[in-house]
Amino acid sequence: MTERAPRERRDPLARKKARHTPPSARSRAMHAMSARAAMGRFVLQVCTKCGTATYPPRDACPACWGELVWQDCKSGGQLLANTIIHATTDLYFRDHLPWRMGTVALDAGPVALVHLHRDLAPEDRVEVRLMLDRGGNAALFALPPDRGFDMTDPQLREFIVPVQGKTVLVTDAHSAIGLAVVKALHDTGAGLIVAGMLPPARLADADHPVLRLLGVQVVPLDSSDQVSLSEALSKIGGPLDIVINTARHVRSGGVSGGTNIVEQRRAFEVAAIGLTRLAQSCGPMLAGRPHGAFVDVISSDALTGSAGHAGFAAAEAARLSLLQAFRHEMRETGVRVLSVFTGPVEDEHHQSVPPPKVAPARLATAIIEALQQGREQTCVGDVASDAMTRWLADPALYAREKNL
């Protein structure tokens, strides 16, 4: 899609629209479900004794009081009945009425109350997704099973981050990752792409074909410099919807030896302090938007450290920690904070790292997908996926193996 969506226009005298989030109180079992939903998994609790799958989440098997464990399950089902809600006292749902709900007989067993795509009717086959609502809690959403369903369903849009027509800031746009992200955003139909250029810049840098695409605006931006960040944000005309933080400072080196303190400090300035600066500057701008999102590209080395890239991994770990806190702060504003984990990227910074490496274009595609599915946590490529799986299974063992 290359046709640009028109920029949003607003009544200058209208009172600012207040944004609400869905009710947030949840049980501990439900939070466990949300944590898995954040990874894009479809899970249900299954009893270890009688094998019954159950929903909603509980602390014990409703059939036999047995122990429940989380299992990835088949996500198909059949719509049994539907209803349309026209009145509620809840502020969030009042903003989005009428609201469609339905009951689905899940192929995995239980009958569940689900949010419903507008194209579905009773007895339809459905695909049920475990998605995060605007407050970050898991909810079941039934979609038509074929992939070509209507993405403009207003109810579905509450669970995802639409990119079309939106204003997006890419913090470091001239890196291999940054250029790929700008290109992918353009191809997806983002309205305005603000491309941050990290100094020092060559005279010809802004002439890169990707940065000359329609709808791309180049601004100097160094997220480690508050003045630069403020000036860049002041150049964005109109509201800011999405920030994609591609800034990183990849350098090899150890801790006691082979380390360059200046580079290590720079890695922290960019990855950790830079994230805080962006969060402080952009958080309030995103908070007023109907589909605000902050995407952070982060190394899977953040999980365990990395002996070969010690300073970089430490800075990325600090970034991950800050990102968790930022996500918590943004929950009540409805702004989605997405982490996109990657292993080594096929770029100039990983010349001495053997494959497999992630192509920048693949990383960019994964970022767009994560937004369009509203997924908080994504692992791109074999290295990051493997790292996450092993870290989830046995963090102590993985930290040891990773740093042998």
């Binding site: 005279l203 000036e231 200046v262």
Partner: protein, 266 residues
């Protein structure tokens, strides 16, 4: 008639107060977006200026405003001490904390290469150019700062200041013969330039690489970089006041550089 030291100082101050002597600021504003020199990526890099507000009449300090700042010694308008270069590592008093205070004040001669630099951004100041300059303007006196006026400071705020291209930086500067002439035959105090370094942008590729740094500092002379306002100085007759910070063992320092010049002399 002899003039006593008191009379000389009083006359100078009266001249500044009365406007017959102008005080001219030759310093660029130290800001986070002021460019710093870029070295090939295998070398450590120069950090730009950074400023972080500690408090501004707010919860962190209700009645006071102050900032933490950080930078390289060679950020913004700055002074190069002899110890900055390997050739000057054994020069006596070669670090900024040890520089004799008499060296903070020296007269200057301004050599205008504006036209040449505008025509050729890689313009090289040669011995032949300097001799021709002397033939036209008079000899360069000893113990002077040599200030190269290139009008490069007018590019500040644009990418053409560092002027980085695929094949490196492009800006004017001297060659080795010119530097030997200035140091050994004209006994200069140092070289002051408007560009980000005393050497030309492409000077690392010269047969004798980086001659300004190498020859100046190897002979105990100084460098001043990122100057501005040289267009307000007379060719002869100005005095430069350049006092680097007293950093222990420091190789250079950002500083305020000013000139005193007779009014109406430019």
């Amino acid at each position: 008639m002899t003039v006593t030291a008191n009379q000389a100082l009083s006359a100078m101050l009266a001249g500044i107060a009365g406007g017959t002597i102008r005080a001219i600021d030759l310093t660029n504003i130290l800001s986070s977006d002021f460019p710093v020199i870029v070295l090939p990526s295998e070398f450590g890099q120069c950090e730009p200026f950074r400023m972080e507000t500690v408090s501004r009449y707010d919860a962190n300090g209700p009645a006071w405003y102050w900032n933490n700042i950080s930078m390289n010694e060679h950020t913004g308008t700055h002074f190069d001490a002899p110890a900055h270069w390997v050739t000057g590592r054994d020069v006596a008093n070669g670090t900024v904390d040890a520089i004799p205070p008499e060296d903070f004040l020296h007269p200057a001669v301004v050599i205008d290469i504006t036209r040449e630099a505008a025509e050729d951004e890689d313009f090289i100041v040669t011995r032949g150019f300097l001799e021709a300059w002397e033939a036209a303007n008079g000899p360069i006196p000893s113990r002077h700062w040599i200030l190269l006026r290139s009008d490069w400071s007018k590019r500040v705020g644009t990418l053409s200041y560092l002027n980085l291209k695929d094949d490196g930086a492009h800006s004017p500067g001297p060659d080795a013969d010119a530097m030997r002439f200035l140091v050994h035959e004209r006994d200069c105090v140092g070289l002051g330039v408007e560009t980000v370094g005393t050497d030309a942008g492409q000077a690392s590729l010269f047969d004798e690489p980086l001659p300004a740094h190498s020859i100046l500092h190897g002979n105990g002379r100084y460098g001043l970089q990122c100057l501005t306002g040289l267009d307000q100085l007379p060719v002869f007759g100005s005095v430069i006041i350049a006092m680097p910070l007293k950093i222990k063992g420091g190789s250079g320092s950002p500083l305020r550089v000013m000139a005193l010049a007779p009014a109406g002399s430019d």
